[in-house]
Amino acid sequence: MQTAKRTILHVFLMGYLLVILYPFLFVLFSSVKTSNQEIAARPFGLPESLQWTNYANAWVNAKISTYFLNSLYIGLLSACLSILLAAMLAFAISRMRYRRLSMLLFQLVLLGMLIPNNALLLPIYGMMRELHILDTHLALIVPYTANAIPFSVIILTAFMRALPGEIEEAAVMDGLSPLGLFAKIMVPLTLPALVTIFIINFLGNWNEFLLANYFLSDDALMTLPVGMVGFRDAYNTNYAQMSAGIVFSVLPVLILYAILQEKIIEGVTAGSVKG
């Protein structure tokens, strides 16, 4: 009786799993098929022969390599910048002795979490134009860095507040300046939180579409999601190659997720609940 019940539960859950994972399998199979005809003829089946050339073609002809490197560099740089700025801000708010001012700043940053950022697309577009950085990578790096600040500051402040006061007392007794306290004590102690936030921010930047789509028009500068959409619109006759492109864009995230799954789940859910 018990085992029968268990089996029914697993059947339901496997059904859900199939719905989630099958699309990926479909893309993976399609990415090594010869042509649209083969996909159309046997959509559920394995390919007859493995066409790895689809990957080479997508990487070179479809310029996935360019988009991939652009995304990587913009994503990493913005994530680094926002984590540095957020950690400094969080340190000042949580550890320096300006209680009332810090409280006010924290409330202000909290307000940022309430603002639906898609609605800010137009004013930010205008700002980027006035700064003459539209159609350069800076037009993404600066807004991405800024966008991650509220979430990162909130999480890091909570983390730093939880550290015992004796640590900094000891450090100050030993003659450490606030700068030294930050760099030599706070950053190493909050490293786990910093890593989590770094990954979340990187994923957000890696996946971002709206700004990337409207702020850049030079094909050589585009990021992966925008490049992929352009690729689809231009080559929508070749689904096999497009599938290879999808694999390229999903793979890094899958690898990150495989290694740092716990951290990612914890970070993403914490970030949304705070909002």
Binding site: L9, F26, P116, M127
Partner: protein, 294 residues
């Protein structure tokens, strides 16, 4: 001690860079959006003509704008009445099993960390009328091919399904965490009193996760008001504007047709609608749920 951590210059050094960036990208844009929303600015020229509330009356009397509002509300309704029941069901199921629990959690969460744009492309492929997975699967049951993304009747549903596919698992993990945090003694006591599995789920677990479900609805509202990329990638708002949401309507006017002032009006309206909806939800529903808890 206090003196070491009370140095105004150092405080400024730490606070200023982040704060300036924050102000430039959160506070300043809100203010410019509001001022520009009262102009007929085209987004390029130097002169901005103030035209009072004309943009607002125009927007509020435009049927296409209200259609986009309706589509945003479909996102909310779909998540309340389709996703939430599924979320409850599957998080209860995952909480029950012991074997493969890790696998289920990992797989279910996966779509939510992928790019919405790429998921849009992927599902566009699945919805392909000739060889997409969807029609092939329906074909097995003898159902005729549907032009999912180019048929006005189906395009919005197709987008909602894709959106649910991406986000349901994310919420399942949140609710699951709440279920697993319920003290085991409660379950145990009910079991001893002879409650069946379904009774325990309905009478014990469900009432205890109502607060987190309220958070899920709250997040769905926020997500629904922001929806844009999925629509842009899958249908670009078409066919004939039938899948437009407020954000894509805004983009169409502001960037594609250079009605920057009008676009900013829509931005402000998105803002106002989001705040009003959130406030109403908080006051009418969330507070009542919390009240019952207390």
């Amino acid at each position: 001690m206090n003196q070491a951590l009370r140095r105004p210059l150092i405080y400024l050094l730490f606070v200023l860079p982040g704060l300036v960036l924050f102000a430039a990208f959160f506070i300043y844009p809100v203010l410019t959006a509001v001022t520009n929303s009262f102009t007929s600015w085209n987004g390029i020229s130097q002169d901005k003509a103030y035209i009072g509330v004309d943009n607002y009356t125009l927007a509020l009397s435009d049927a296409a704008f209200w259609r986009s509002v309706r589509n945003n509300s479909y996102f909310i309704l779909f998540s309340c009445f389709v996703q939430v029941p599924l979320i409850v069901l599957f998080s209860l199921l995952i909480a029950q099993v012991k074997k493969l629990k890790g696998l289920y959690k990992t797989a279910v969460f996966l779509p939510s960390i992928l790019s919405t744009a790429v998921i849009g492309i992927l599902w566009g492929f699945i919805y392909h009328p000739d060889f997409g997975l969807m029609n092939e699967a329906l074909g097995l049951f003898g159902i005729e091919s549907v032009y999912w993304l180019s048929d006005r009747r189906w395009a919005m549903v197709a987008i909602l399904i894709t959106n649910a596919w991406q986000w349901t698992g994310f919420y399942i993990i949140m609710v699951l965490a709440a279920i697993l945090a319920i003290p085991a003694e409660l379950e145990e006591a009910a079991r001893i009193d002879g409650a069946t599995g379904i009774q325990r789920a309905l009478r014990i677990t469900l009432p205890l996760i109502v607060p987190i479900l309220s958070v899920v609805v709250m997040l769905s509202i926020a997500g629904a008001m922001k929806a844009a990329d999925i629509v842009l990638v899958m249908t670009k708002g078409g066919p004939a504007g039938s899948t437009d949401v407020m954000a894509t309507y805004m983009i169409r006017y502001a960037i594609t047709s250079f009605k920057h002032g009008y676009g900013n009006t829509i931005a402000v309206l998105i803002f106002v609608f989001t705040i009003v909806l959130t406030a109403v939800y908080q006051l009418l529903i969330a507070r009542r749920i919390e009240g019952r808890e207390a």
